[in-house]
């Protein structure tokens, strides 16, 4: 059994909560006491139906205001896969939450209401998924029961979405006509839409091929922690602990350590369960080298002929996440990139992107909450970086305000030099 992380985007109106509730219920991941609690609260509030949004709206403020504020994580499993859902609110004022939920997603599920055709919101969701390089996209055209299970309605929406997505270098795209309320095409194929020849949503989620989404080519191992027991049993042990970001490492491989540029060979790859013959993402391992080198947290192990840039000039798309102060040219921030921390100054804001129209505003002077723009940064120490499109781990960073310590931005590297 493997693990699939997916993000859902859409608003309550699109039937997103109903869809999640349906997936949880039909996979027996929704428990009787949870359902009873939701039914009781729904009844007390005078809702006409059991409001499944209450399942994921876990905070007092969310239930009081009837809105989803933050990302909620939900879990379910089938015999084939374990699933982690990052359920994100869909409105534009929650762009940062959607960016957050998408950052680790293998797949994004975008919901549209069959009666409304494509709205600005769906385009925005598609854009954000492509920005975050979510490898698989599923468009669920929901409420098919309310359009008479019409094939032409479905195809019109799916075609329009596909042509929009094509402009975004969007990844693998699948469109499924569903009725979350009645369960059509959720777990099993719908008898109401015999014209639909594809799989049900759950069938697709269980089988979508994610193994090759990982980058197994570029060896990148950010050193997290140096293990030195200095005990009588392990007097000279020195191992470099971390999680493989990409590539495959094997004992005997020649490796290079950045930023020093020294080379060595992998003596062994170890775990508490014993040595392993190879390490690949997402394994957490400890690497030992044949030579004594000065390596510390924030360094990176790669191959001599395939290394990331060691760069202080970084061009990146930045999504701003702070409501108190906008990103400004000349601003100084802390950066966390892999296991490395640096400081950075914003040299230039090349443009701000309108995430609904994709129009570039080159006269913008700052990025406010939920705004996205292309930014040039100069860092105090080199970042060991790849383009985000090639590597989500060595290509992503967060921006931290040094006075408040809040995480104020998320960056996706376009160019590092």
């Amino acid at each position: 059994m493997d693990l699939l992380r997916f993000a859902t985007a859409g608003s309550v109106d699109d039937g997103k909560s109903t869809l999640i509730g349906r997936l949880l219920y039909d996979t027996k991941s929704l428990f009787d006491d949870q359902l009873a609690a939701v039914e009781a609260v729904s009844a007390a509030r005078g809702d006409e139906y059991t409001n499944l949004a209450l399942l994921t709206d876990g905070l007092r403020a969310e239930r009081e205001q009837g809105i989803t504020i933050d990302v909620a994580y939900r879990y379910f499993a089938t015999p084939r896969r374990k699933f982690i859902i990052a359920d994100t609110p869909g409105h534009i004022q929650y762009t940062r939450n959607m960016v957050t939920g998408s950052s680790t997603a293998d797949l994004a599920l975008i919901l549209v209401d069959a009666r409304k055709a494509l709205v600005e919101q769906s385009r925005r969701h598609a854009f954000l998924c492509s920005l975050l390089r979510v490898p698989h996209l599923v468009l669920c055209v929901n409420k098919m029961d309310l359009v008479g299970w019409s094939q032409s309605v479905f195809e019109e929406i799916a075609d329009e979405f596909a042509s929009f997505a094509a402009k975004l270098e969007a990844p693998d795209l699948t469109a499924i006509p569903v009725s979350a309320l009645h369960g059509d095409n959720i777990v099993s194929r719908s008898a109401n839409m015999p014209w639909y020849e594809g799989q049900s949503l759950l069938h697709h989620l269980e089988r979508v091929h994610i193994a090759s989404d990982r980058n197994l080519v570029d060896v990148r191992f950010p050193v997290q922690y140096v293990i030195r027991p200095q005990s009588t049993r392990y007097p000279d042990y020195r191992g470099y602990a971390g999680q493989v970001a990409s590539g495959i490492l094997k004992p005997g491989d020649e490796v290079m350590v950045l930023p020093s540029g020294f080379t060595s060979r992998i003596a062994s790859i170890e775990t508490a369960d014993g040595p392993v013959p190879q390490a690949f993402p997402p394994m957490s391992v400890t690497i030992r080298l044949t030579d004594e080198l000065d390596i510390s947290r924030g360094d990176l192990i790669c191959r001599p002929n395939n290394a990331p840039a060691a760069a202080q000039d970084i061009d990146a798309m930045v999504c701003w996440m702070d409501e108190t102060r906008p990103l400004a040219v000349g601003g100084r921030y802390a950066i966390k990139h892999t296991t490395r921390s640096a400081r950075a100054i914003v040299r230039d804001l090349q443009y701000r992107l309108d995430i609904n129209t994709l129009h570039r505003d080159e006269h913008a002077t700052g990025l406010a909450l939920n705004e996205i723009g292309r930014v040039r940064l100069r860092t105090t120490i080199p970042l060991l970086a790849d383009e985000y499109r090639r590597n989500r781990t060595t290509g992503g960073f967060v921006v931290i305000d040094e006075t408040t310590n809040r995480t104020v931005g998320a960056g996706m590297i376009l160019e590092a030099a």
């Binding site: 876990g58 905070l59 933050d70 971390g242 966390k336």
Partner: protein, 303 residues
Amino acid sequence: MVAAPAYRVSHLEALEAESIFVLREVIAEFARPVLLFSGGKDSIVMLRLAEKAFWPAPIPIPVMHVDTGHNFAEVLAFRDQRVDELSVPLVVASVSEALDAGLVHEPADGSRNRIQTPVLLAAVEKYRFDALFGGARRDEEKARAKERVFSFRDEFGQWDPKNQRPELWALYNGRIHPGESIRVFPLSNWTELDVWHYIAREGLALPSIYYAHDREVVQRDGMLYAVHEFFRTRPHERPFVARVRYRTVGDASCTAAVRSTADTVAKVIEEVAATRITERGATRGDDRVSEAAMEDRKREGYF
């Protein structure tokens, strides 16, 4: 090209790798972390992950238990034994001592659940802990489903659910000012069933009360509470013997048992997979206070 299926890990291995990453991040970035260890199954799994994360070095931080004085004796014995085996320092923050010192007062209902919080916070201040590992999981409870892996607490130990730091990729922001701290939840993405599968895989020992045994209980609010020195039975409540086990382990005063014949790990996994009631819903009186009981306690600085 090499065939892809060779480079795959199971969901349990992926969860383990993620948790080990989180544990190492904290040890690398914080000055005085501590791991909260109650002798319950989640903290036993977390301690095992810490053991694996730093192997062959010993676990580099102390563990702490907030002892309400109302714990099951089997669990305390297990706690001490496990800490001995691993030779990690144990800090006990004692609610009974705090009551004697007047820091907290015995609540009228006899449950010390809520007064654990000031005792925990006093210990954090005394030992100047800046990061506290907790075994909480997001599948346990709806407020926890919204909490970050690195959960910021202000100088009063309070959680502000509306002002959480965005958490992207595996980039955890652990920056704090003096007096503030971070609660870290390495098991955030694990479910109850994952925990049991891992216990089976690692061959982890658990306190005996997690497995089916005969126990004298009373029925209250649809739940079975052990007749215990720290549990006040009411006059109309008739004790009877039932075959039960504990799904969660907390205070004897607010943790209920469930009817069960599962006396092995394999049988517990079967039982958990088939159950229709959540773990806390089946066993925790403390969550039943209100719709937002957990959120309210967490705001005050609860685990």
